[in-house]
């Protein structure tokens, strides 16, 4: 594909021999945690663990970042996570910020939606950013963190589970060596070799429809919005997506028929006329062309002994909904604090089971949502097509029809039905309930500076944190719990009244946040005993 892979070797990294390779085979080096796969998930997880004080070895079998834009939509939740990892500013500065999507049917617009219609959030609903930029910024961040040892061209070829560790055999350009790790996290992607090594199945649904992705470079006046067409005039009977990326690159996604020949369809001379029909001109160059089919599937168990799976290695979804990379990043933020506590011995190893419970539940939700979108775009029977046609027709004049049109439901943080949550004992009208992600809101510091609640959480070290709303009386916070106070002397000011509103808070209310920013429990009248009990449950101690 001439001229289509200009970003193939965006950044190249050298293999470097490590002293571990010189150790005799009988006494390999031992590490608390080895992460396999330096994609967005593995890189983020390594940074998070290192920031929590763990030494991490990060292995990748390649020596470069590249090969197409791949994931492009990063969610607010992912940006809030990357904020804590010290990389979000760069991502947002480079990325294209968006929150509006439009759905068209034929020539006319059916409706538009705004994924973040309210102000008072530090981060936007989404940015679009080529995956290679995201990975490059994460790799840069790792160079500031001596606790991470990133080893390129280190390919895991064997995994042996032992009672107290995992033995890895690693192939390098200079031969094989071995490492021992207390835990191994496999972030090695949809074709995970570690998944095969532990003998796990990866079952699910294969969708027969084929989609063509083309990233094209052009200067265009389209707004920075997600545009989705059903049955557009330039691509009759099928669906199409147009989305902007940085550097004047545009993501175009075209549905093809089930029987299209991939090698023929992928040829630039065949792709070009399709895109020219869509754009109305042919003043563009190809950055990347890829043809794919969806699979929606997940591992039965995300934890196999001491090997834990995160991201695409554990679950795969269709791309309409930005639920791939974003859910992988949610895996990383869910796992890292738990693994850190287990490695420190402050929580029992059974805490890790909650990673499987929470994130496999999230994977099920993501698979359900993206399967529904895919089925709407590519109906499976005449009757399904008929129902879809009825929805599209009703959408022109009814609000309920618009809401049923499914051109992709975009990633939002899942709420966990979790053993770590304490049930509400008080009455709440709204606000994030236990198992839901914290909500951002503007605050003012004592010095009068505008900031955000997510900043305060990050600065406090992303540990267990009590967010309390002052009623004048001091809150008795158990040891080891960080403290964010809204109102009162020395507290942050709810300058716009939005925190109290978003958290349905009255003076005296308090939320116990987990280290990943999820709500563990909330109280109208917090007592030390109640907070301690919720903390104990959320840390997997009972």
């Amino acid at each position: 594909m001439a001229g289509a892979n200009t970003h193939q070797a965006k950044t190249q990294f050298g293999y470097r021999r490590h002293a571990d390779q010189d150790r005799p085979g009988q006494s390999p080096a031992e590490y608390p945690v080895v992460v396999v796969g330096a994609g967005p998930v593995g890189l983020s997880l390594a940074i998070d663990l290192a920031q929590r004080g763990q030494r991490v070895v990060l292995l990748d079998d390649a020596d470069r970042i590249g090969e197409g834009s791949r994931a492009i939509c990063f969610s607010k939740r992912s940006l809030e996570y990357w904020d804590r990892l010290g990389v979000a500013d760069r991502m947002v500065d480079k990325g294209v910020v968006w929150s509006v999507g439009r759905i068209f049917h034929g020539e006319s617009q059916l409706y538009q939606f705004n994924l973040l219609p309210e102000d008072g959030h530090k981060r936007p609903a989404f940015i679009n950013l080529q995956q290679y930029y995201a990975e490059a910024y994460l790799v840069d961040r790792i160079s500031d963190l001596p606790a991470i040892d990133l080893r390129w061209r280190n390919k895991v070829t064997a995994v042996e589970q032992r009672n107290d560790s995992v033995a890895l055999t690693i192939e390098t350009p200079e031969g094989a060596y071995r490492l021992h790790a207390q835990y191994v996290v496999a972030c090695d992607g949809a074709r995970s070799s570690l998944r095969q090594m532990v003998g796990a199945e990866f079952a699910g649904q294969v969708f027969e429809d084929q989609f063509l992705i083309a990233d094209v470079k052009m200067t265009a006046e389209f707004p920075t919005e997600r545009w989705f067409w059903f049955d557009p005039p330039f691509h009759a009977g099928r669906s199409a997506l147009l989305h902007r990326q940085p550097d004047d690159v545009w993501r175009i996604d075209l549905q093809l028929n089930r029987y299209a020949d991939p090698t023929v369809e992928k040829k630039p001379e065949n792709v070009r006329p399709r895109i020219a029909r869509m754009l109305g001109h042919d003043k563009f160059e190809f950055e990347w062309i890829s043809l794919y089919k969806f699979q929606c599937r997940r591992m039965d168990r995300f934890i196999h002994g001491r090997v834990i799976f995160a991201g695409d290695s554990a679950h795969q979804v269709s791309p309409f909904g930005a639920r791939g990379a974003n859910s992988g990043l949610e895996d990383a933020e869910n796992l890292s604090w738990k693994l850190d506590r287990v490695l420190r011995g402050t929580s029992p190893a059974s805490l890790l089971e909650s990673y499987h419970v929470e994130r496999s539940g999230a994977a099920d939700e993501n698979i359900r949502e993206s399967t529904r979108s895919t089925d709407f775009m590519a109906p499976n029977s005449h009757q399904e097509a008929r129902l879809r046609q009825a929805v599209l027709a009703l959408a022109k004049e009814t609000e309920f029809g618009k809401r049923m049109v499914n051109g992709g439901r975009l990633s939002v943080p899942c709420s966990y039905d979790s053993p770590l949550s304490s049930r509400d004992a008080d009455a709440w009208r709204s606000g994030p309930s236990p198992g839901c992600s914290m909500l951002d809101a503007p605050v003012a510091t004592r010095a009068g500076e505008q900031a955000y609640l997510t900043d305060a959480f990050r600065k406090d070290g992303t540990d267990f944190t009590l967010l309390s709303f002052s009623n004048g009386a001091p809150v008795d916070v158990p040891g080891g719990v960080k403290d964010i106070r809204i109102g009162g002397e020395g507290g942050l000011a709810d300058s716009l009244g939005l925190i109290a509103k978003r958290y349905d808070a009255e003076p005296g209310s308090a939320y116990l946040l987990r280290p990943d920013g999820y709500v563990a429990a909330r109280f109208r009248h917090p007592t030390r005993e109640a907070i301690a009990a919720a903390l104990s449950r959320a840390a997997g101690l009972n």
Binding site: A390, V391, F400
Partner: protein, 75 residues
């Protein structure tokens, strides 16, 4: 069961007739298109997922019963 199966129309024949007449002059294909839209409109008006699920179960069960009856008659 939240689905109401008691007779809700004061004049049930009017309701049945209205639906039948809406289909008059339509081909089977057009009738199917019409029904698809009608089902979605009514489902949204009901606006209760439990009622909808009960209705789906009842409709499916009647369909299966009907098929069995037909098969028995053919034997």
């Amino acid at each position: 069961m939240p689905l109401s199966t008691s007779s809700n129309f004061a004049r049930p024949d009017d309701a049945f007739r209205a639906i039948v007449e809406a289909h008059r002059g339509l081909t089977d294909e057009q009738s199917a298109d019409f029904d698809a839209a009608l089902v979605l409109i009514l489902a949204n008006h009901i606006g209760d997922i439990d009622v909808l699920r009960d209705a789906l179960v009842l409709a499916k069960r009647r369909m299966i019963d009907g098929q069995q009856q037909q098969q028995q008659q053919q034997q």
